[in-house]
């Protein structure tokens, strides 16, 4: 039994070790300058990370900007406005949404969302960061909504009663009591959703356009772009094991792993220590 626990510890350590080891030649050769350069041309040995980092950042930001307000509103509606069966219906549909495989979202994005964007915004191609962000927002919505709803429903009845007996209105109770009390859970949900958005591969890969270029100007979300995950997914198959290209892709993977590990540490910092006692 102790062995099982050890296995999981060893797995994390080994994974990081192998990523560092394989990406080491890249870091040694290109150093920290690789974060500034946006040029990624494997055949000319140019491996700048900036374009993909900016792409990942924008895609995740768009997703959060849409999913946080709608997800929170859906959670509030579900736990504070609706009753029994409707609540279960919304909860069930969120679980359904969470269960759809990411490659199926990619298919939906490619053949439903892209043509729509293309015709409504008059673009040459619908492949862009906006499409990736929109698709991601649907994918991370269940995480935010379900965690927020759980957090809201855990606010104790005595607190609600106290607020009501003080004569607080519905929106005052929501803003002064419910949301602040539920905030730790909501925050964890948002962070987990962010990690999911950064790490999502298949759906993003199909709609983002896979163009290794820093958006110009940097807020141009309507031209084809690249994210860390889509770059790895597109190119890992054609890079030879041990080459600089392979090493650079491993560097992208290491970056992704470190950022998402930091995010989950933030998300679980408080809950774990309280739980295990």
């Amino acid at each position: 039994m102790r062995a099982s626990a050890l296995i999981s510890l060893i797995v994390v350590m080994l994974m990081l070790w192998f990523l560092v080891q394989q990406s080491w030649p890249y870091w040694q050769h290109y150093g920290l300058g690789s974060f500034v350069s946006g040029d990624w041309y494997p055949y000319e040995s140019l491996f700048g990370l900036a374009a993909a980092i900016i792409g990942s950042f924008w895609a995740a930001l768009i997703a959060l900007a849409i999913a946080i307000p709608t997800g929170l509103a859906a959670a509030v509606m579900s736990s504070e406005i609706l009753s029994g069966p409707w609540r279960n219906l919304i909860r069930g549909s969120m679980e359904l949404l969470a269960g759809i495989p990411s490659v199926v979202y990619g298919l939906l994005g490619l053949w439903l969302l892209l043509p729509f964007l293309q015709s409504s915004l008059h673009l040459l191609t619908g492949h862009n960061l906006l499409a990736a962000g929109l698709l991601l927002s649907v994918m991370i919505l269940p995480t935010i909504m379900v965690m927020a709803q759980d957090a809201l429903s855990e606010v104790s009845a005595s607190q609600r009663d106290a607020a009501a007996s003080l004569g607080m209105g519905w929106s005052a109770r929501l803003w002064r009591i419910l949301l602040p009390q539920a905030w730790p859970g909501i925050r964890s949900g948002i962070l987990l959703a962010l990690g999911r958005a950064l790490g999502e591969t298949m759906a993003v890969m199909l709609v983002v356009g896979s163009m290794d270029r820093i958006p110009e100007p940097f807020y141009n979300l309507l031209s084809p772009a690249q994210t860390l995950t889509s770059r790895i997914g597109r190119e890992i198959g054609e890079s030879a094991f041990g080459s600089m290209h392979f090493s650079a892709l491993m560097a992208c993977g290491l970056l992704l792993a470190l950022v998402t590990i930091a995010i989950s540490l933030l998300a679980h910092m408080h809950t774990d220590s309280a739980r295990a006692t």
Partner: protein, 278 residues
């Protein structure tokens, strides 16, 4: 109900609407596109002419996905159960914190990173190549944390009185687990397993370059040969924009995949309703 309150509620509902429409819309669109293409010959036919995009059987893809899923669960479930028993029986507070913390970390790491590590270690260092076994191991590691946390929760929810009564009767650890804990906790454990299976069926990125090929495999010769899978099939065919038939097959594959995953989740919800103190 005051004016203000009503306005606030209406505003909340308006904000929530974008969250309420997509589930139904996504699902009906998938079914709308995929169902007309599906027929029985496609599901179980034995046609080996798997030419690019031509209507043919999806049977190899289905078996490939299911083999990967079963392998992953067979590898991950015992480790998860063992870890959870360690957590419940033997671990002190520090060990519990470490274990939970590790699991939360592992859950947070994107699947494609597991794919990369599998590519380095299993495909290249261990020379397993692009193979069924590689995919099984990678998927097992991916579903391990959720299985383990679910098992921990399952044992946590066993009423303390049952354990105390068993201890008072002098049951050993083994007897306690077999006679008291497993009979009470099995629905919760199975729920976790079904969700793990659904997850293993959905993951695509980590097996794309470590376990699967586009076509040419009907039944893998051994654990060390590559397979085809529904997930990766959808990915390849989705991009065949010039070939409408290929995209149709992608939709049909998506319908099959969504049905399989949803069936597993429904099974999990049904099991969740079985009360643990019964």
């Amino acid at each position: 109900m005051s004016m203000n309150e009503r306005n606030a509620k209406i505003l909340t509902t308006m904000l929530a609407l974008p969250a309420l429409l997509p589930p139904a819309a996504c699902l009906s669109y998938i079914l709308f596109k995929g169902i007309p293409v599906l027929d029985w010959a496609m599901l179980i036919g034995s046609s080996q002419a798997i030419a690019f995009g031509s209507i043919s059987t999806l049977w190899p893809q289905i078996t490939g996905s299911i083999l990967l899923m079963l392998g992953a669960c067979a590898l991950a479930a015992p480790v998860a159960l063992g870890g959870a028993l360690f957590y419940a029986l033997a671990a002190n507070i520090r060990q519990r914190q470490t274990l939970l913390g590790m699991m939360h970390l592992l859950v947070g790491i994107p699947p494609i990173v597991y794919g990369l590590c599998g590519l380095i270690v299993l495909v290249h260092v261990l020379h397993w190549g692009i193979s069924l076994l590689t995919g099984m191991v990678i998927l097992a590691v991916i579903i391990l944390p959720m299985l383990l946390m679910n098992s921990v929760n399952a044992f946590d929810r066993i009423p303390g009185g049952k354990t105390e009564a068993a201890r008072a009767l002098g049951l050993s650890n083994g007897q306690l687990i077999r006679r008291v804990w497993l009979p009470v906790a099995w629905p919760a454990l199975m729920t976790g397993l079904l969700l793990g299976m659904a997850r293993a069926l959905s993951e695509t990125a980590p097996i794309l370059f470590t376990a699967t090929v586009f076509s040419g495999v009907v039944w893998p010769d051994s654990l060390f040969s590559p397979v085809t899978s529904l997930q990766t099939h959808i990915f390849y065919l989705a991009q065949e924009g010039a070939n409408a038939e290929a995209v149709d097959i992608a939709w049909a594959s998506a319908v099959i995949l969504v049905i399989l995953v949803t069936a597993l989740s429904f099974g999990a919800s049904a099991l969740r309703k079985i009360r643990m103190d019964g």
